[in-house]
Amino acid sequence: MSYILEIMPQVLEGLKVTLEIFILTLILSVPLGIVIAVMRTSKSLILKQVSGAYVLIMRGTPLLLQIIVIFFGLPIVGITFDRFPAAILAFTLNYGAYFGEIFRAGILSIDNGQVEGAQVLGLSSKNILCRIILPQAFKRVIPPVANEITTLVKDTSLVYVLGLDEMLKIGKMAANRDVSLMPLLIVAVVYLIVIAILSQVLKKIEEKYDYYK
């Protein structure tokens, strides 16, 4: 229908913002998650408690509120962010906590014999973590990580609260303006296509890591 063609450009503009938030958050929160997981599984009590508190707060409060606090609340204590950086910061901190717990589960699931096997060879703690544990943990956690990634694509719609024009907001505005549910349907289909493509990519990654049992 010609209506679909009419509003497609706007929807794709919104998709651009959605994907920007998604990709930046992913690039930043996965490494953060690894750091948190290593802290949570370390021998140091301080590192364990600090990272534990961080995870509690970031998982214990709604992402929407975290976005609002960072953009609207922090200026009160003198820290200001532009809208887009504020969104990225909130998303990164939030998803970093979830990834942290997923990676922690992965690290803990590796048999302690792997650590001992590496220790008697004289490998350093850093080498044991990076060369032996993390590569094996990574393979284990691909399914739950895929879960988080697909949730992230849809969570990006929360940035409406900062006035950012991501895809769902565009859809809602068009629906209101044109008194039609069609825009929302189109937006739903676009989300589905994006996530279907992502799922395929993740499936390929999982297959690639299936080179050993």
Partner: protein, 230 residues
């Protein structure tokens, strides 16, 4: 090569090692036999610094590993670990690495060899162990006997002065016992000492220069058991 003096170890209230004394000379194959729970594996783990004993001294190749129950620092431990190798009962091979990669990891990271040097040495060792054709395989593709040889090879490439084996025949077919005994004997020809933990008395008699028995946390010379559970 190995000196263990009055080593004691408790787990909670249970005293597992009650003052163990042991010496292994260069090139000697010592076998420690005993029932499960007698303390043999704990002793082996203390000697390899996987457990820390509460009291006693351990010396490897003239270097102090543990004095009065205090173990040396990380740096010294790293040096000592070059002299002692351990083959685990369940091998603990790195499943995400090929056989060759399992063997070249430590020489590069611990001994500082280049990748080429490490590969050359690893391939020599694999040849000696009859595993060269499996060098690009992953551990999950190997039989139990092959996995054990990879585990031995991985410890061997670091050229330790003493090799430890924790129950080397328990994960294998009974028919392979003789092969393992021969392999271990051929290693000691090069002057390597061995410390073997087992409850397989036939294997012990085949492979040992000297047998000691571990019973309820105490070590005695010779074979004191008539038979042990298999």
């Amino acid at each position: 090569m190995l000196k263990v003096n009055n080593v004691k170890k408790k787990f909670g209230d249970a005293e597992v090692l009650k003052g163990v004394n042991l010496e292994i000379a260069q090139g000697e194959i010592l076998v420690v036999v005993g029932h499960s729970g007698g303390g043999k594996t704990t002793l082996l783990r203390c000697v390899n610094a996987l457990e820390h004993c509460d009291e006693g001294d351990i010396e490897i190749n003239g270097k102090i590993l543990c004095k009065d129950g205090k173990y040396v620092d990380k740096k010294s431990l790293k040096e000592i670990r070059k002299d002692i190798g351990l083959v685990f009962q369940n091998f603990n091979l790195f499943p995400h690495m090929t056989v060759l990669e399992n063997l070249i990891e430590a020489p590069q990271k611990v001994l500082g060899w280049t990748k080429e040097e490490a590969i050359k040495n690893a391939e020599e060792t694999l040849g000696f162990l009859n595993l060269l054709e499996k060098k690009e395989n992953y551990p999950f593709e190997l039989s139990g006997g092959q996995k054990q040889r990879v585990a031995i090879g991985r410890a061997l490439v670091l050229e330790p002065k003493i090799m430890c084996f924790d129950e080397p025949t328990s994960a294998l077919d009974p028919g392979l016992t003789g092969e393992v005994a021969n392999l271990i004997k051929s290693l000691s020809v090069k002057g390597m000492s061995m410390m073997i933990i087992t409850h397989d008395m036939d294997f012990a008699k085949k492979v040992a220069d000297r047998i000691v028995s571990m019973n309820l946390g105490k070590l005695q010379e010779g074979l004191i058991f008539d038979e042990l559970e298999s």
